[in-house]
Each structure stands twice: as structure tokens, then as C-alpha cells.
């Protein structure tokens, strides 16, 4: 990515072209090695999307460096690389996830899910029993190990060395008595043992499915554990060897199911993620637990965005009109004071308002003498949000409308005055129409901004008060984006990334459509093309 900065370092030929060329190639080589490393690693762990993104970025950089015709693109490559990784890939990812059931309980691919279950062990009744001697690392008292001995019954003894998260290691010796020192570990004193009994009994020693767990610390016995869940490729299912249950893979919903059509406990968790087609989208309409809250949330999103634009525009325009009066003294200073709400970080402002609105001890309650349920009542919460957003947003409208007001030619007003139009008529028939033409695109952009104005919703009341009786976490003041957030990262009800992504896509299409229409009708498109 830094190809061009390594290419030419000196301002006036400090480096000869040959050296420059070598430096460039070295930088590129370093980048390529790094890219290939990441690509292979992501490929190896099954993150094909990320692997592809890395591959595309690496290829792009190489092509751009080696094709002279693409020299201009070289200047863009750092930005393009970041854009591909952090904007384009996430968009594609979101689109993909929306068609899967990626959610809590379905976070792994099928093979990963099988591998995960394969690591679970149990101790069968007829397991091989060992006597053990506890060891402790000399330099780290939290590291425990076991010296295991098992009398095979033919006069020989099997000796094993077991550590946490490392494979069991057979010790080739005829003498089963524990040594004074082994691989940096020493036998534990009797007095030390008491403190670690719990750690010994709860932990397993060894790695993967091949482990040993302590059955009794006082009798110093341990048993060889065995793999509990075994996957059968032909039957496409997992057998639980403790309960002898067979969990068949349901590749439609990505779950391991014992007997189809029965209760929840017959599932083996976690399942795996599968492509579910348009299920997430059809759930908007078909799932009654989702349909109700989603309709409320969608309605409020539109209402909130509209009310925000409308109220801020009216107040902003009003203030701009007043500030536009030449007779007002200190106009510049007044404008500075009036844009202060816009300058303060929004989160801080919202929290401050939240404090002032405290229904019991906030300053509003003290002034009005009544307790307004700003946070517990849906209607008041909505009023509160619009009020705060008005405070946050009117300076922006004031600034853009005062700019537009100054660009309206004064001779129109003079002509109107000659024709006998009053000030009100002049406002409604000249100022407002001309103003709306000028700031219309910005109003629409503001609508799309408020459509996704997550900060206000989240910082004010976390979308609350909650809508009762819903399966998904939703509140009366939630807008689509905050609802998405709650679905993905929200309360303890489990994350549903698939559904969250589906809603994101709906938001995306709404916003994109509005923006494209905005571009099209206002000729911004042509402006961009013309300027190019």
C-alpha cells in the first residue's frame, strides 16, 4: 500500500532510478508475502470471504504497480484497499449473512460444529483407571500435571504424563514410581494438595478427545475419558454415546435433531449455519412475534425521521430569517452562540438532556412542578426524542438556510413589493419556494441521516419503553437501526445476526433509493459527471 512512498523518497534524485525500482519491488514483495500469509490463513480457517477480500486487495496493488497505464490508480490504492476491506466486503458479507440463519446456536460451519462436539469427552463406566501422582510446575504453581500409572495385569505398567491442553504422553520406563523432577515439574507436597483438589477434579488433562480426568482426588484415581459425540458421515448425524441418542443433521435449519418434531431438548447445541434463502425476509410478514413490533418500529422510524427534519427545518429557518435581518446587532456573535448545540458532541448533549428531563429531580420537573414520564411512557419518550433532536439539529438547518437565503436575488423582492405583496405573501410565494429548491436535497439527505440516527435513540432511552409481549427485544422508540443493533448485540435473548442483516438490507435499499432519487432529480449526478 505504501508503494509510492517507498518509490521516490528524495526530492531531487537522492536515489537513483535503479535503487528506487529496487525499493519499490522490495516494498511490494513484503506486501505480497503479508497478503499471501493472511490469505492462506483465512482460507485455512474457513473465512473464505475475508480471504477473497485480501486476495483482491493484494492483486489490485500488484496490478496497479506493474501496469504503467494504471499509474493514476496507484494514488488511489491506499484508499481503495481500505474501502474494499472495511466498506465493500462488509456490505457483501451483510448481504450473504442475511440469507443464512447465522445466530446464537448457529455460529459455526457444519464441519466446525462436528469438530467442536468431537472434543467433548465422557468417562465410561468401564474406563481404564489410573493411579496418579500430582505434579506442579517449578516456576508456576498454577500449572498442574499428572503422573499416571496403570497396572496392565500382566506384570507391566503403563505410565502416562498428562498436562492440560497437551497430548497425553506415554513415558517409556520400567519404574512406575514418580521421579523427583520431570520436564520442569516436581511432585506436589501433601500440604499443597489440599489447595488444588477442586482444580484437579474439575479439570481434564490431555488434549482433544484423548483426555484423562480425575475421578477421586483423595484416592488418587483418574480415568481415561472417551469422545462423547461421534459423527457418522453416512447417516449424517451425531451419536451421543452416553445416552445412546442419534442426532440427525437437519440441513434446512442447521440443527442436530434427535427426533423430528419434538421439543427443544432433543436438539444438540450448538448447531451450524446454513443458507436459508429468503426465510429471514419472509419472517417479517409471517412471524407474528416479529410482525407486530416490526410494524411499530418501521412506523416510528419514518415518523421520527420526518418529524426531525420538519421541526429542525422550521426552527432553523425561523432563526435564519431573524438573523438575516440587517437591523440585528452582533449577528455574527449571535450565530456563534446559536450553533453551540451543533458543536457539542451529540452523545454528551443527549445525556445532559436526559439528566435535565429526569422525571423526579430534573430541572424540568422542578420548573414545571409536574412529573412528566419522559422515559416510561411511549408517547412522552417520543416527544422527548424529537425535542432533543430538534435541539441537536436546528443549527444545521439554520446554517444551510441562511446560506440559501443570501443567494436569493433581492430584485425579486423589490419587484414583489412594487406589486404590493405583503411580507407574509413574499415569504410564502418567494422565499419558501426558492429556499426549498436550494436546500431540498440537503433536507432529503437529512431525512436519510435521521432514518439511521442511532445515537439519539440509544443514548436517550435504549429504544425503551419496551413493547410488551414480543419475542425479539424491541421498544416503542426503537428505529430500524437500533432494533437491528438489539437483535445482533442486544439483551440476553440471543443474537440473531441473520435477521439483523436482513433488516440492514431493507434499510440499505430504502436509504439508497431515496438518495438515488435525490441525486437524479436534483441533477447532482450531472454535476459530478460534468466536473469530472
Amino acid at each position: 500500500m505504501s508503494a509510492q512512498s517507498t518509490a521516490v523518497r528524495g526530492p531531487s534524485g537522492l536515489l537513483t532510478p535503479v535503487v528506487q525500482q529496487i525499493l519499490k519491488l522490495l516494498g511490494l514483495a513484503f506486501l505480497d508475502v503479508f497478503g499471501i500469509l493472511l490469505f492462506y490463513t483465512f482460507w485455512y480457517v474457513g473465512q473464505w470471504g475475508l480471504a477473497a477480500a485480501i486476495a483482491i486487495i493484494t492483486l489490485l496493488v500488484n496490478v496497479v504497480v506493474f501496469v504503467p497505464r494504471l499509474y493514476p490508480v496507484r494514488w488511489l490504492s491506499p484508499g481503495l484497499a481500505m474501502m474494499i476491506l472495511m466498506v465493500i466486503y462488509p456490505i457483501i458479507f451483510t448481504f450473504t449473512v442475511a440469507f443464512t440463519n447465522y445466530s446464537d446456536g448457529h455460529l459455526y460451519g457444519k464441519s466446525e460444529s462436528i469438530a467442536l462436539h468431537g472434543r467433548v469427552t465422557y468417562t465410561p463406566a468401564d474406563a481404564r483407571v489410573y493411579q496418579f501422582e500430582p505434579f506442579v510446575a517449578k516456576d508456576d504453581p498454577s500449572q498442574l500435571a499428572l503422573w499416571l500409572t496403570h497396572d496392565r495385569g500382566d506384570g507391566t505398567t503403563e505410565v502416562l504424563w498428562a498436562r492440560v491442553d497437551e497430548p497425553l504422553q506415554p513415558v517409556d520406563t520400567d519404574d512406575p514410581t514418580p521421579p523427583e523432577e520431570f520436564e520442569g515439574f516436581r511432585p506436589m507436597e501433601r500440604s499443597e494438595l489440599f489447595g488444588v483438589i477442586r482444580q484437579l477434579e474439575s479439570g481434564t488433562f490431555g488434549e482433544g478427545a484423548d483426555t484423562v480426568s480425575v475421578t477421586s482426588a483423595s484416592r488418587r484415581t483418574a480415568a481415561r475419558a472417551e469422545q462423547r459425540y461421534v459423527y457418522d458421515e453416512e447417516l449424517d448425524g451425531i451419536t451421543d454415546r452416553v445416552t445412546e441418542t442419534f442426532y440427525a443433521a437437519d440441513n434446512e435449519i442447521g440443527s442436530w435433531i434427535a427426533a423430528k418434531g419434538t421439543a427443544e431438548e432433543s436438539k444438540l447445541e450448538p448447531g451450524f449455519f446454513v443458507f436459508v434463502g429468503f426465510t429471514n425476509f419472509t419472517r417479517f410478514f409471517s412471524d407474528p412475534a416479529l410482525r407486530g413490533p416490526l410494524a411499530i418500529v418501521f412506523g416510528w422510524t419514518v415518523a421520527f425521521a420526518f418529524l426531525s427534519v420538519f421541526t429542525t427545518f422550521v426552527l432553523g429557518l425561523f432563526m435564519a430569517l431573524i438573523l438575516n435581518e440587517k437591523s440585528i446587532p452582533y449577528r455574527k456573535a449571535l450565530r456563534s452562540l446559536l450553533i453551540i448545540p451543533y458543536a457539542i458532541p451529540a452523545v454528551i448533549s443527549i445525556l445532559a438532556w436526559k439528566g435535565m428531563m429526569n422525571p423526579n429531580i430534573g430541572v424540568f420537573a422542578k420548573t414545571l412542578g409536574i412529573e412528566v414520564p419522559w422515559f416510561s411512557d411511549a408517547g412522552w419518550a417520543k416527544i422527548g426524542i424529537v425535542l432533543i433532536n430538534l435541539w441537536l439539529g436546528y443549527p444545521y438547518m439554520m446554517l444551510i438556510t441562511s446560506g440559501a437565503l443570501q443567494s436569493i436575488p433581492t430584485d425579486i423582492y423589490e419587484a414583489a413589493e412594487v406589486d404590493g405583496a405583503g411580507s407574509r405573501q413574499r415569504f410564502w410565494n418567494i422565499t419558501l419556494p426558492l429556499l426549498l429548491v436550494a436546500v431540498g436535497p440537503l433536507l432529503i439527505a437529512s431525512f436519510t441521516f435521521n432514518f439511521n440516527n442511532f445515537v439519539v435513540i440509544e443514548a436517550y432511552n435504549k429504544g425503551g419503553p419496551p413493547i410488551p409481549g414480543t419475542l425479539t427485544p424491541a421498544g416503542y422508540t426503537d428505529i430500524l437501526i437500533s432494533y437491528t443493533y438489539r437483535l445482533a448485540f442486544g439483551s440476553g435473548r440471543g443474537a440473531d445476526y441473520g435477521l439483523a442483516s436482513a433488516i440492514t438490507i431493507v434499510i440499505f435499499f430504502i436509504v439508497a433509493t431515496i438518495t438515488l432519487l435525490n441525486f437524479r432529480f436534483t441533477g447532482q449526478w450531472e454535476e459530478v459527471s460534468k466536473n469530472v
Partner: protein
């Protein structure tokens, strides 16, 4: 209209009456319990020295004085030949409002009416009075509306500043003018408490501030660098697909990367896990310490910066291209005739010319990143890694009413630099606004 001297003097006196009315109204605000001069009012009326904290008593005398002034003016205006009905309607209104308020307060003090009810009624009286006032005075309408606008705009700011300097630190007992201030040090009690080393373990405020500054400055510098290079290309080269690329860059930003928060969360998670993945994938490289990838994973400032940089190529590039276009091409063409490479042209000719503008864009990028909340909230998970906005948000949700003063102090420290930058750069910001960047 003041064509005669007599008329002019009449108008002058009426305007003094108007001022008296304004004083009455503002004065009534000042005797609100939360204003902090309530105890002073008691002192004024009952002559019992109560807890008069700051010497603001003279302000209180303005209300009754204004009342008297308004009354005198009323009498005077009634007997003038050039009297206008609107003038004394106004002054009567002033006297009525003032008297009402006075009576209400006497009642509160002697009859022990519930203070809350009095205050509520008082507020309604004030609001009605203000509306009546604006209706009456055509010429003063804009100024009075501006006054209301200023109260609306600045009251929350004043309230937070006052909370920060209020030694009680408690929302319930906060007054606009701090009470029980014995020394200057008392004013900074909240700051001392918030910034003390003991408090840092629970709420590492310094750490949050540092994180915010760190993320914002690195993002600002890098994103301006990325944009500056890209804008040079768009401005100075003519290559195939240039138009489409520029449109793509603009269009892609229609999709706010906040919308992809789920995806970004999962991507950063994978990047962070590279430190475990690489040794697993390529055992030969297990000897190298790959843990630096964690500095770009989930819950890391590096990861957050990466995400912010994804949006570097956007509206800023478009703005900068405009600046570059305003630099005549003849300058760099003549340099290139002399054998300068494009890199040299950019570095030695264009860059010095556009540097001031780049600085402004960088400052704005800094402010935008400093204020960003959503992605930081999603991507940062542990207390020590929070940025200031996330930290304050969590601080507040933990114990709002109890440590309101602490929040206010933190908010003041966090917001003051940003506000100053905004006010200094307001002309540039206004210029940038109409070009596209949208907030609010």
C-alpha cells in the same frame, strides 16, 4: 415614525418600560428554586440570614425595581397626548405579571404553599407573559425571539457547566448558581473527584480521553493523507474509468458503514484471532509472535481506526479535488516539463498550496472521529479501551442521578475543546456543510 422630538422621547420612555418588563420576566426566572438565589430571596423578604452563598442579592432587587419603573412609566404614558394604546397595554401587562409573581412568592413564604405548585404556576405566568410581550412589540419581536432562542440553545449548556462546578455533585440539589461554596477549591470538587487517581480504577477517565485523542488524531492524519493522494489523482490525471470510480467512491458512502456493524464486528473478531490462526495454519511460523494482530482486532483501538479509515475515501476526497482543481494546472505542467515526477509535483508544488485546507479537513475529521459513538460502542468491549464518548455513556448509565456532577465535569472536559474548534472554524464548516457532509 419618530419625526418630532416629543415623539422620540415618548418612544424612548416606552422602550425603557419594555426593558423593565424583560427584567421582571428574567428576574422571575431567577427566583426559581433551582436558580440558586432562592435563599437570597428569602433573605430579602424575611430578613433572616439564611444560606446566602454568593453575593447575588442586588440582582433580586431588580425585579421589584423594575415593577416600580413600569408603574411610573404607566402613569406618565397615560397622561401624554401622543399616547398609543399598545404602549400602556404592554406596561399594564408588565405590572400584572410582576405583581402576580410577587404575590405568589409572598404566599410561598408565609402560607407555606407547596413550592413546586408555586413554581409551576409561576412558569406558566412567565410563558404567557413572554408571549404577550412578543405580541405587543413589533419592533422588538426579532430580539425577543432571539432571546428565547438563546435560552433554548444555551440553557442546557449552562446547566451542565453549572452542574460541573456545583460542589454537591447531586442532581436533586443542583442549583444554577452553586450553593455552599466556601472556597474556590469547592468549585472544582467534581473535577478533583473524577480525575483523582482513586477514581481511575473504576472509571479510567484519563485513559478514555487518551484513547479518544489517539484514535481521532491517527484517523484524521491517515484519512486526510489517503484522501489527499486520491484527490490528486482525480484532479490531475485523465484516465479511463475515472468518472465511474469517482461516482463509485461517492455512492458507496451512501451505505453508512455503521449499518454494517454486524459485519465489521465479525471481521475484526477474525483479524484479532489471526494471532492464533497463523500458528495453526502454518506451524513453521509459530515461532513468531503474532499477537500484534490483537491490536487490530475486536476491542482494540487499532481495529477501530481501521474501520474509520474505510470511510476515508468519500466526501472529503470530493472536496479536496475541488481545492486541487483551483490550483492552475500550468504550475505543475511547467514543473513536469522541467523533469519533475508526479510525486515531486504533488509534494513540492500542490501540497504546500493546499496545506491550510488540508489542515482544516484534518481538524474536521478529528472532530468527527472524536464524537463518533456507534461503531466505538459496538467494537470496543472492555473498559480500558473505551473512547471518551462510550466511557461517558457507560459512566452515566451506571450512576446518573448520583454522580451527575462527575458526568458534567467529564462532559465539560470532553466537549470544550471541540466546541472551541467548531467556533474557530465555523466559516469553513458552513462552507463544507452545503457541499454535502450531513449531521442533524
Amino acid at each position: 415614525m419618530s419625526d418630532t422630538p416629543r415623539q422620540a422621547s415618548y418612544d424612548f420612555v416606552v422602550s425603557i418600560g419594555n426593558v423593565a418588563f424583560v427584567v421582571i420576566l428574567l428576574g422571575s426566572f431567577m427566583i426559581m428554586p433551582w436558580f440558586g438565589t432562592y435563599s437570597g430571596w428569602k433573605l430579602l423578604t424575611t430578613e433572616t440570614p439564611l444560606n446566602a452563598s454568593l453575593p447575588l442579592l442586588p440582582v433580586l432587587w431588580l425585579v421589584p425595581l423594575a415593577l416600580v419603573a413600569a408603574g411610573v412609566l404607566l402613569l406618565w404614558a397615560m397622561f401624554r397626548p401622543e399616547r398609543k394604546p399598545q404602549a400602556y397595554r404592554l406596561i399594564i401587562a408588565a405590572c400584572v405579571v410582576g405583581l402576580l409573581y410577587y404575590v405568589l412568592f409572598i404566599f410561598t413564604l408565609t402560607q407555606e404553599l407547596p413550592a413546586r405548585a408555586t413554581v409551576g404556576i409561576g412558569t406558566i405566568v412567565i410563558l404567557i407573559g413572554l408571549l404577550a410581550l412578543i405580541w405587543q412589540m413589533r419592533t422588538y419581536r426579532p430580539i425577543l425571539v432571539l432571546l428565547m432562542a438563546l435560552i433554548f440553545a444555551l440553557f442546557p449548556v449552562l446547566w451542565v457547566i453549572s452542574a460541573a462546578f456545583n460542589p454537591s455533585g447531586n442532581m436533586a440539589t443542583q442549583t444554577l448558581i452553586p450553593q455552599n461554596v466556601q472556597s474556590i477549591g469547592d468549585l472544582f470538587a467534581n473535577f478533583n473527584k473524577l480525575l483523582s487517581p482513586e477514581a481511575q480504577t473504576l472509571y479510567p477517565f484519563w485513559r478514555w480521553m487518551f484513547n479518544s485523542l489517539f484514535v481521532a488524531s491517527i484517523t484524521a492524519v491517515l484519512s486526510v493523507a489517503i484522501s489527499a493522494l486520491a484527490a490528486y489523482s482525480f484532479s490531475r490525471f485523465r484516465f479511463q474509468g475515472r468518472q465511474n470510480l469517482l461516482l463509485l467512491v461517492l455512492l458507496i458512502q451512501v451505505f453508512p458503514n455503521m449499518l454494517a456493524m454486524v459485519a465489521l464486528f465479525l471481521i475484526l473478531q477474525q483479524i484479532g484471532k489471526l494471532s492464533e490462526f497463523i500458528p495453526a495454519a502454518i506451524p513453521a511460523l509459530a515461532g513468531i509472535d503474532w499477537s500484534f494482530f490483537r491490536a487490530f482486532g475486536l476491542d482494540s483501538l487499532g481495529g477501530l481506526i481501521l474501520v474509520y479509515l474505510g470511510g476515508a475515501l468519500g466526501i472529503n476526497t470530493w472536496l479536496m479535488k475541488g481545492f486541487y482543481d483551483s490550483v492552475p494546472r500550468e504550475i505543475d505542467e511547467s514543473a513536469q516539463v522541467d523533469g519533475a515526477t508526479h510525486w515531486q509535483t504533488f509534494r513540492l508544488l500542490i501540497f504546500p498550496l493546499v496545506r491550510p485546507i488540508l489542515a482544516v479537513v484534518a481538524v474536521l475529521a478529528f472532530v468527527g472521529t472524536f464524537n463518533e459513538f456507534v461503531l466505538a460502542r459496538v467494537l470496543l468491549r472492555s473498559k480500558d479501551n473505551y473512547t471518551l464518548m462510550v466511557g461517558l455513556y457507560l459512566f452515566v448509565s451506571d450512576n446518573f442521578a448520583k454522580d451527575w456532577g462527575g458526568f458534567a465535569a467529564g462532559a465539560l472536559i470532553g466537549a470544550a475543546p471541540i466546541v472551541i474548534v467548531y467556533l474557530l472554524l465555523q466559516d469553513q464548516i458552513v462552507g463544507g456543510l452545503t457541499t454535502g457532509a450531513v449531521k442533524g
